[in-house]
């Protein structure tokens, strides 16, 4: 019996369907000084992403002779959460910066820019659950906006479980009170999952359903990313 059939009077805290994304707004090219940039609202998450590069790597000893190095930073504004947090990066921030890099690397033709760096900075201005996915969504649009050649767009969202039910795109409350959270990033054209984490408890069947559910969510987000880019460029800047 799949969760599709279980749907009854039970309601999510914000009234969404179990498989419904939060309202998403994506805008590209919002920062004049960055080579590429994007702004995303995903529920009450508000995130800005800026991309610089490809450019000569500095310091030089970090450069790679065969490819560009992608450097990602996930950072939260002190006022983005309650109570205020220190602006110094936490261990969680460092871990997320790393998985963001893994999530984005497969999509970029890094091998075209040896000895270079591509720097992706994401800033969480307001956090509302699922910030890492929202950051990946914004970063992808910012990368395209910067003219970085991409194999595919990377779309990300989470699935999870609360009150025994599987749901898509957990908000802050669902993230904290739920039984499991599965953030996932996905390249729709290439059909590859590039970010996959999970905390909580799920049976293997639930786990697989969650992955499938999150992939469906990513496909919807992918369309919104394309839309945001079309809006700016008329046509989508993408590898053929």
């Amino acid at each position: 019996m799949s969760p599709r059939k279980k749907k009854t009077k039970w309601e999510r805290i914000d009234g969404r369907e179990w498989n419904e994304l939060r309202p998403i707004r994506i805008e590209s090219g919002v920062l004049p000084n960055a080579d590429g940039s994007a702004y995303i609202e995903m529920g009450r998450n508000k995130i800005i992403a800026g991309v610089f590069g490809p450019k000569e790597m500095h310091p030089k000893h970090l450069a790679k002779p065969h490819m560009a190095v992608l450097r990602c930073r996930y950072h939260m504004a002190p006022f983005s959460v309650d109570p205020r947090r220190s602006p110094a990066p936490s261990r969680r921030d460092n871990e997320i910066s790393m998985v963001m890099r893994y999530a984005l690397e497969p999509a970029i033709f890094l091998e075209r820019y040896p000895r270079s760096s591509i720097d992706v900075y994401t800033e969480v201005l307001q956090a509302d659950g699922g910030t890492r996915c929202a950051c990946i969504n914004a970063a992808t649009v910012a990368l395209v906006d910067a003219g970085i050649p991409m194999r595919d767009l990377v779309a990300a969202c989470a699935a999870g479980k609360i009150d025994g039910r599987l749901i898509l795109d957990l908000g802050d409350y669902e993230d904290k009170k739920g039984q499991a959270d599965v953030p996932l990033a996905y390249m729709p054209k290439l059909d590859k999952v590039t970010l996959l984490q999970m905390d909580g408890t799920l049976s293997t069947e639930e786990m697989e359903e969650c992955v499938g559910l999150a992939i469906e969510g990513c496909k919807q987000i992918y369309e919104m990313q394309r839309e945001a880019l079309k809006k700016k460029y008329g046509i989508e800047k993408e590898e053929p």
């Binding site: 800005i48 610089f52 800033e123």
Partner: protein
């Protein structure tokens, strides 16, 4: 002292000075004109107060977080205000992630000194239990795009955010502070406005752009309160100013301040 510059800035400076000589600036403004200012408040709903300010392409987001903590030992009956500035790396290729550098420290300090000098907030009203528990107000300046004159934009954003900020209400029970559901305005008593004047050659311009800042000789920031009094000065830049030039800059600032203040009061 233009010999101190490299070739590119020297050419840029020459170009800017030639334009200034015609009474105009590279972006078409008059010497005494600010770029357009737009202010939006309340955009970070989870913060106790917030404001985003565009000054031309310069973009600053300020969030106010109000917590509680211990007072300083020498002011046991007063709340605490802490001002911090982040030069977010998205804002400029010149910004790097890391702890605050000289420039971001100066920015935070000048905005902070302006708020203190003008006594914008009544610190005695921010005491919950004397000597033990007071409100701690964090003013975080977040620079999202750097297109020059960060101080003026940040000062406006800080004021706009503070004006709209609500603080949680505590009630005292058995000498303990208990958080209630209620919120009340933080209350801002004055609106000190920072006006920055750059000296380039013999010209004085207000609200310098990033290009102008790169080639300016000196910069004077004058914070002017509601009564036209000065409450902060900050000179920077590698050239000196004569007494007459200082007077001139102060006068420009006193003249421009009401125009900017009106933007803040009109932003609601």
């Amino acid at each position: 002292m233009s010999s101190r510059y490299g070739i590119i800035p020297r050419l840029k400076r020459k170009k800017i000075q030639e334009t200034l000589a015609t009474g105009k600036r590279m972006d078409g403004r008059g010497l005494g004109d600010y770029r357009e200012i737009s202010i939006r408040t309340g955009i970070i709903e989870k913060a106790e107060g917030s404001a985003e300010v565009y000054l031309g392409e310069t973009r600053v987001l300020v969030g106010i977080k109000i917590g509680v903590g211990a007072p300083f030992e020498d002011t046991p009956d007063e709340g605490v205000l802490v001002c911090n500035a982040e030069f977010v790396p998205v804002a400029s290729p010149a910004f790097e992630p890391g702890p605050p550098d000289e420039k971001s420290i100066e920015l935070a300090r000048v905005v902070d000194r302006g708020l203190r000098s003008a006594e914008v907030v009544d610190f005695s009203k921010l005491c919950i239990i004397p000597g033990k528990k007071v409100y701690v107000v964090h003013v975080d300046l977040y620079i999202l795009n750097h297109a020059g004159n960060l101080i003026d934009a940040s000062a406006v954003a800080a004021l706009a955010a503070l004006r709209g900020a609500m603080k949680p209400v505590y009630k005292i029970e058995d000498d303990e502070a208990v958080l209630t559901e209620k919120k009340e305005p933080l209350k801002v008593r004055k609106l000190p406005v920072a006006v920055t004047i750059a000296k380039i050659g013999e010209s004085f311009v207000v609200d310098p752009s990033a290009d102008e800042e790169e080639v300016m000789d000196a910069r004077l920031t004058v914070t002017v309160d509601d009564d036209g009094n000065i409450c902060t000065l900050q000179k920077s830049g590698s050239e000196g100013l004569t007494l007459d030039e200082i007077k001139k800059a102060i006068n420009i600032a006193v003249e421009k301040a009401p125009e900017i203040r009106a933007k803040i009061t009109g932003s609601e």
